[in-house]
């Protein structure tokens, strides 16, 4: 079994950049999942949390958390956003492992992410804390 990156990555490890541009079909899926009568009208814009979720999926994959035997709990999430993002607008995410410790056999990891538009301007940040158990190492 390949050792997941969560077992070996050190603080400062960088991830990405990830293209987290959200096309219309995924925006529609988000509306089907989350939306209801009281939902705001986003027009041609996105809920920023969707961009965060897209980056998180890429991070989970790169950290090897889909590996068999691992159980991952999403423990905490921080998000800040500077402006609305349009459906299909190019957004790139870069991430950095901000904390990674082992306590009682569980990994506690925090990954900080920065989101930039096509001009390189920062449009948002996020920070995700996960707890991983079941590692072989």
């Amino acid at each position: 079994m390949v050792t997941p990156l969560i077992s070996t990555a050190t603080v400062g490890h960088e991830f990405g950049p990830y293209d987290v541009t959200i096309p219309a079909d995924r925006a529609n899926a988000y509306a089907a999942s989350v939306g209801g009568e009281e939902s705001p009208d986003y027009g041609d814009s996105l809920a920023p949390i969707m961009v965060v979720a897209a980056a998180l999926t890429r991070l989970i994959d790169d950290l090897g958390l889909f590996s068999g035997g691992l159980q991952t709990v999403h423990a905490g999430q921080e998000v800040s956003w500077a402006r609305q993002i349009r459906i299909g607008e190019q957004v790139e995410a870069t991430a950095r492992l901000a904390a990674n410790s082992v306590r009682r056999g569980n990994h506690f990891a925090t990954v900080a992410v920065t989101y930039r538009d096509s001009t390189g301007t920062e449009v948002g940040t996020s920070s995700t804390t996960i707890i991983v158990s079941g590692e072989a190492s």
Binding site: G36, P48, M50, L56, G76, Q77, V79
Partner: protein, 139 residues
């Protein structure tokens, strides 16, 4: 009361809503986010995990909370809003959750007035699935 208004006061409740988290919503969220982890989608796999059955994505519950914030603060939430939450309990498909929030402080900042709110999403038994705090510009 329109968002961005300075008429808000400490103690004001945010307008929450109920949402049944159906498996169809979870499936759609997997398509939206790209997160196809079988713990959310595959009952036979999920039955072997600590939860014993499928669970909704934590980010789906958080997305509902941000829907509340986007409705309540329609002109400012996406332009300067911040949140910090912890995921304290899983939501199982078929459960109906309720979002909630309350303004706990209004502060003058370099960018104008800003509201701090407790926010969250409760399960049917009243426990929090998501709980935390948001800061939203008021102008």
């Amino acid at each position: 009361m329109s968002s961005g208004s300075t008429q808000r006061a400490v103690g004001d409740s945010l307008t929450g809503f109920e949402r049944e988290i159906t498996q169809n919503r979870v499936d759609a969220y997997a398509e939206a986010s790209g997160d196809h982890n079988p713990i959310h989608l595959d009952e036979s796999y999920a039955s072997t995990t600590q939860f014993g059955t499928r669970i909704a994505h934590g980010m789906l519950s958080l997305a509902l909370v941000t829907e509340m914030l986007a409705t309540e603060f329609s002109s400012t939430w996406h332009s300067g809003g911040k949140l910090k939450v912890r995921f304290s309990a899983p939501v199982f498909p078929g459960e109906t959750v309720v979002t909630y929030g309350e303004i706990t402080a209004i502060d003058e900042t370099d960018d104008g007035l800003s509201a701090t709110c407790t926010i969250g999403c409760k399960k049917p038994d009243g426990t929090d699935a998501v709980v935390g705090r948001a800061t939203v510009p008021l102008e």
